[in-house]
């Protein structure tokens, strides 16, 4: 058995627009045994409450930051007396291809990176973490901020005597800071990313009648929404046109390891968040639908996981429910593409020389011209069209 290693749990970077975060709640206390991947704190990023997971297995030695304190990304939050994952023999330094590429670009020494993937594999996130640790100042800016309840009070039953919610200054502050976070990310996107835009209109009659048949015999809880089919088609198309799935890092494209589909979720009190549906291209539609429900509900009530905030490889925005025909989106850096779906509308449509009425949807692509050209983007939209016309293959 090797000696005990000490690991620090740092304020994670949960998105390109995050500069600092507040420890909203500790989920562990000194003396607790934790395993890698366990949620150990709830971090308030201004956009959402995120459960941050430990990169270490071991015993919590001390907590360095009290709840309610805002600190910069990279600040040590806790000390963990780590148990080496393979106490006997040397640690294998296996790294994923994306992690290796990133490490080379960011100048990170892989042998010094703690792997959190399966069997200690170094993942891209670990490299980013390590790079941030090197560059981020460790000064603790202990601007005290009152801790907030994890979610807004939800009424479980309507009561006539129940008062209207009290004005919530804390909530107002959060909306202000969320607006600033979106402003930073979007301004950076428009400043740095030369967007190009494409759009196409897709006949949805095959997809909708397929859905109708499928949903007919199911209870409401098992039914699929058109949104699930649209998301799956976008994810599959991203697999087929992989140059749109990944990141632009230091003047080069780094492909995503899988399609982790960011889904733009509008929050009820304003604001926007785009957490990832992991492995969206490989999941069955039922599974994807359940995951979507879960993700949207957690995004709105306050519990997303850190991996969901950092690992999206391409994002989809679906403004169909708001009634608009098309949306030309702004790419979320460092991603290189954003897919937009509008409302499914009945429109005149020519088929085989005859005019009929069909449900159609406008699909758009905003893509980073540094990473791809219009030809690649066009292939993506054609693939979405093909898939939606063959819903049984999704």
């Amino acid at each position: 058995m090797k000696g005990t290693e000490r690991g620090e749990f740092l304020m994670p970077s949960l998105g390109a627009d995050m500069e600092s975060g507040t420890v909203a709640e500790w989920l562990v206390k000194p003396g607790d045994q934790i395993r890698r991947g366990d949620a150990i704190a709830v971090i308030d990023t201004d956009k959402a409450m995120i459960e941050a997971e430990s990169f270490h297995t071991g015993t919590v030695e001390s907590l360095l930051v009290e709840t309610g304190h805002r600190v910069p990304v990279g600040t040590p939050l806790a000390v963990i007396a780590a148990v080496p994952p393979h106490a006997a023999g040397p640690r294998a330094r296996v790294a994923s291809p994306l992690a290796r590429t990133l490490a080379a670009r960011l100048g990170v020494d892989l042998s010094a990176v703690h792997g959190t993937g399966r069997a200690g594999t170094i993942r891209a996130e670990d490299v980013r973490e390590a790079a941030e640790r090197e560059t981020t100042t460790r000064e603790t800016a202990a601007r005290g901020v009152e801790p907030r309840p994890r979610e807004r009070p939800r009424r479980t039953a309507p009561g006539p005597a129940e008062a209207r919610p009290q004005p919530d200054h804390d909530w107002e502050r959060r909306q202000e800071t969320m607006r600033q976070a979106i402003a930073r990310a979007m301004a950076r996107s428009k400043r740095e990313i030369p967007h190009y835009y494409l759009s196409t209109t897709v006949d949805m009659s095959a997809a909708l009648s397929w859905l109708r048949e499928r949903n007919r015999d199911l209870p409401v809880s098992g039914r699929l929404l058109p949104a699930a089919v649209l998301l799956k088609a976008a994810a599959r198309a991203a697999t087929e046109v992989p140059r749109l799935n990944g990141f632009w890092v230091d003047d080069a494209f780094v492909p995503g390891e899988a399609v982790h589909l960011g889904v733009a979720v509008s929050l009820k009190d304003g604001g926007l968040i785009a957490p990832a549906l992991h492995d969206a291209a490989c999941r069955e539609l039922d599974d994807l639908m359940a995951a979507l429900k879960d993700l949207v509900s957690r995004a709105r009530t306050g519990r997303l996981r850190s991996a969901e905030m950092t690992e999206a490889t391409i994002t989809v925005t679906n403004l169909g429910d708001q009634g608009v025909e098309s949306v030309h989106g702004v790419i979320y850096p460092p991603q290189v593409a954003l897919v937009g779906f509008g409302k499914i509308l009945d429109r005149p449509w020519a088929v085989d020389g005859l005019l009929g009425v069909r449900p159609v949807v406008t699909v758009t692509l905003a893509a980073d011209h540094r990473a791809t050209d219009g030809y690649t983007g066009a292939r993506f939209l054609c693939t979405v069209d093909r898939l939606l016309n063959h819903p049984e293959t999704l």
């Binding site: 807004r152 009424r155 309507p158 007919r216 409401v220 809880s221 929404l225 009820k268 429900k293």
Partner: protein
């Protein structure tokens, strides 16, 4: 099902998808999707909640009835067997 009970179930289901909504101010014939800013997922959750609480089977073809408070309550009165 009595109109009173149907109305209670509708309000409870709405409260689930729109916890901050002022239901007293909501007109019975207003489109809840617009009035309460429900998206398609919220609406599905609403119908799902009602289907479970009332024990009433609700087809996709029946969804339009549920876009208003009055329509949803009337549907339950007509179709739900439970008291």
């Amino acid at each position: 099902m009595t109109p009173q009970r149907a109305r209670e179930l509708v309000e409870a289901a709405l409260t689930r998808v729109a916890p901050d909504a002022d239901l007293a101010a909501l007109a019975p014939d207003a489109d809840i999707r617009e009035a309460l800013e429900l998206d398609s997922l919220d609406f599905l959750t609403y119908v799902e909640t009602l289907s479970e609480s009332s024990g009433c089977r609700i087809e996709e073809d029946d969804y339009p009835a549920f876009t208003t408070v009055a329509g949803g309550a009337d549907f339950l009165v007509a179709h739900a067997s439970a008291p």
